[in-house]
């Protein structure tokens, strides 16, 4: 959850939950600290969502239990949100408003424009947020897929236009900054899986993320092409497929989907099972199959199991154990290490450079990733010409992006800045960078004392002819 403030107004971008790591035993998930946003209730104007992954929407029920703030997102994203809110009994009272890419709308002092990006979930967007201080571009989680499954290519031209008009700050996804080159297109996965479907004599079991609508689309199309019927395994898989097909984001071939019992009654060579459990989660369908304890599916020699997903760091051994167990039962197991069965949803180095080059921001804030990735992204930005002093490294939990505070406080802040400038050696010639640095440190000091927070300060020094000098 990232907060953007201007004057008395505040919006949040996304509202996700984090999954705990092995140092948080007994914790189901971690939600953001809403205290700051909730303390400003009246000023908290909206939550704007970039896409429907859990780490971007999952904490909404916890937030909406405490405030009736309106939520904006694309149709599919809001459909996933609505499903979760219904589970929490919060749907009735929720204020959900859908938008489309390029549909600019205003919330208080903010002009908000969704911009199409591609990601490992359908209907993802980035955002251009016009503030009184300038335009902030937030990429959301993205890759630049030139041939996405739904034809919804990233809006290169809009990013370019924004770059030409002037972008104050870019916040861009750092997840894959260690990967050279471009991330391959999602549309390469289907053709790579096709020969496996053509050759398989036994049942095919494919595990992927339940939210990966375009992966599921390709797999269902392959099943239809190679004469298999498909069953869905896993609650989230069934639910997401239903939601996405109701809204037209997924086109399930006529008569393809059948209940598990019906599919299991067919010859093995006519069966496809699309399942959750790609991270080897204990009690997931795939993990139960691997230990021979799934009530409906017994793995047999000749079965092909395709783990069409990356292993999320921390799950290597769990996934490894599932793979070993499946091999022991005689299945052929295809996974990232031994076959091309997956592409990432995040931009690689060349894509990230392209985003920087299109938007040409004055300031850059790498987001999404561990510190090493944020730092790597900062260096990548330096390699395309962004001066290091215009790059801000902020980790989750460090604070808000501060734009302007209330008028009253602003007066005090102005005084603090004026004082700092007055202390400047008048013998020194005017230097934009030096003045910027002075203002920055004065503002930081002020905010730190007042709010016990370290803000990111973006100084914008305007030269007024004949006035600022001397």
């Amino acid at each position: 959850m990232m907060l953007v403030e201007s004057g008395d107004d505040l919006i949040a971008i996304d509202c996700g939950l984090m999954f705990p790591d092995d140092e948080m035993p007994g914790i189901d998930h971690v939600i953001p600290d809403f205290a700051y946003a909730l303390a400003k209730r009246g000023a908290f104007r909206a939550v704007v969502l970039t896409h429907g992954h859990e780490d971007h929407i999952g904490a909404l029920p916890y937030l909406l239990r405490q405030t009736g703030v309106p939520v904006y997102g694309t149709r599919l994203t809001l459909a996933f949100v609505a499903d979760r809110l219904r589970e929490h009994g919060l749907l009735e009272q929720a204020r959900l408003t859908s938008f489309k890419p390029r549909d600019r709308f205003e919330i208080g002092p903010f002009g908000i424009e969704p911009i199409r990006v591609t990601h490992s979930i359908a209907d993802g967007i980035g955002l251009a947020i016009d503030t009184p201080a300038g335009t902030i571009v937030h990429t959301g989680d993205f890759r630049l897929d030139p041939r996405p499954i739904d034809g919804e290519t990233p809006d290169y031209s809009r990013f370019t236009e924004l770059g030409e008009r002037g972008v104050l700050a870019l916040c861009s996804d750092s997840t894959n900054v260690d990967r050279p080159g471009h991330t391959p297109s999602e549309s390469e996965v289907g053709p790579a899986l096709a020969p496996r479907f053509a050759a398989a004599q036994g049942r095919i079991i494919l595990a992927t993320f339940a939210s990966h609508i375009h992966r599921i689309q390709q797999v269902l199309d392959l099943a239809a092409r190679y004469g298999r019927k498909a069953a869905l395994l896993g609650m989230s898989m069934e639910k997401n497929v239903r939601i996405a097909s109701e809204l037209g984001y997924l086109r399930v071939p006529e008569g393809l989907l059948e209940p598990l019992e019906a599919v299991a009654a067919l010859p093995a060579s006519r069966q496809l099972i699309v399942s959750t459990g790609s991270q080897g989660e204990p009690n997931s369908a795939l993990a139960l199959m691997a230990v021979g304890e799934h009530k409906d599916v017994q793995i047999e020699r000749g079965d092909v199991v395709i783990i069409s997903a990356r292993v999320i760091p921390g799950h290597e051994r769990t996934v490894g154990r599932v793979i070993n167990a499946l091999f022991r039962l005689g299945a052929e197991v295809l996974y990232e290490d031994n076959a091309f069965v997956h592409v990432s949803g995040h931009a690689s180095q060349e894509d990230l450079k392209q985003m920087l080059n299109l938007t040409r921001p004055r300031y850059f804030i790498p987001v999404h990733g561990e510190y090493r990735h944020l730092l790597g992204h900062a260096r990548l930005a330096a390699s395309v010409g962004l001066p290091p002093e215009r790059v801000f490294l902020v980790e989750d939990g460090q604070g808000v992006v501060y734009v302007k505070e209330s008028e009253e406080m602003l007066a005090e802040l102005k005084a603090a800045v004026s004082q700092a400038l007055a202390e400047r050696d008048p013998a020194q010639p005017f230097d934009r960078e030096v003045v910027g640095a002075l203002v920055k440190s004065a503002v930081r000091r002020f905010i730190q004392q007042r709010f016990q927070r370290k803000p990111i300060v973006l100084p914008i020094v305007l030269e007024v002819p004949g006035a600022a000098r001397g």
Copy 2:
């Protein structure tokens, strides 16, 4: 620990301990089940060691507490063993005998010949074990390094000779079977690190495995070349460097090593610290530095930290946290994902094929690795022409390689086999493979009933002219 039996005699190859995974909380380490070998005390003739890594020697103190069985190994391997036995108060009574590559010796019915291989620890060997049934070649953990740091190249010609003479079974290291190509030479690491030493303005802290003598050699040589003094951090690092240099396996440049306090008093650009903690182990020197809690070393901007090791699966997040923390303190961190700072100690696909092609075994037993790696190695063997029925997939804990049992039991076994052969349809023409399979299944059945173990049976069908037929 792998057991080889012949008649009444039994030898063990290696005696290592396993480190527990995240499903064994509170367990320090896992040692092999010695029950079978100890039950045969008198017949248990020797432990023969391939190299000095913990997972090959670490359980020896636990074994030698219960039996005075003699232990054989190379000088360096035995020096590491002696050190551990001394800690356990077992050194006095231990019977340690060193050997050199190609020094063939006999233990009961076994002829044992160490064969030089290269690995991530110095003085490693594979073994040729002559048994009454034929020669078993065990590679140990190995890579085929054409330019090892100590000049001790793998003994290609001996493996070739053994292949020409006839190898009954090959046991070969499967760890890196997923990696295409050849594993690069250890001697590529030093030249790759040299520009880092040349460029670094601050302190260099290099973390690696304490047993990786050749890596440490290269790093100390670089320190000498670029005018740095070196301190060692970590008990095992200090101990192993002392042992290896006393025996001449490591040549520490004159006057290079100094106590930490002396090195820390030098300008940062003249300091090298060689440290343990490459897996981010909590309380290791590196982890303490990363959180600013090391009593002698405070990381500063400009310091270069090189993690010259692979991340052992299961440690990804721990190592990741250490890397992030070091970056936050302003250090430059070089690690496997962002720089060439390490090569593996295990053979890749082309090396493994070469080992199969040199030794041309009748039977093949992939060892060392998870099930998926053993299976991948079995398939690699098939790709160079080894028929699948001659490949045995056995995981640790499944049993012993059975060659022959005691005379008394042999008589019963003979009867069981004769009976199985008598049931053969006499109308069928003699077929070596069919007879082999019959014998194999009869022996397996017999052993399983008698010992509740599933043995690997290597049937050797000799055609005696004019006798076996009909």
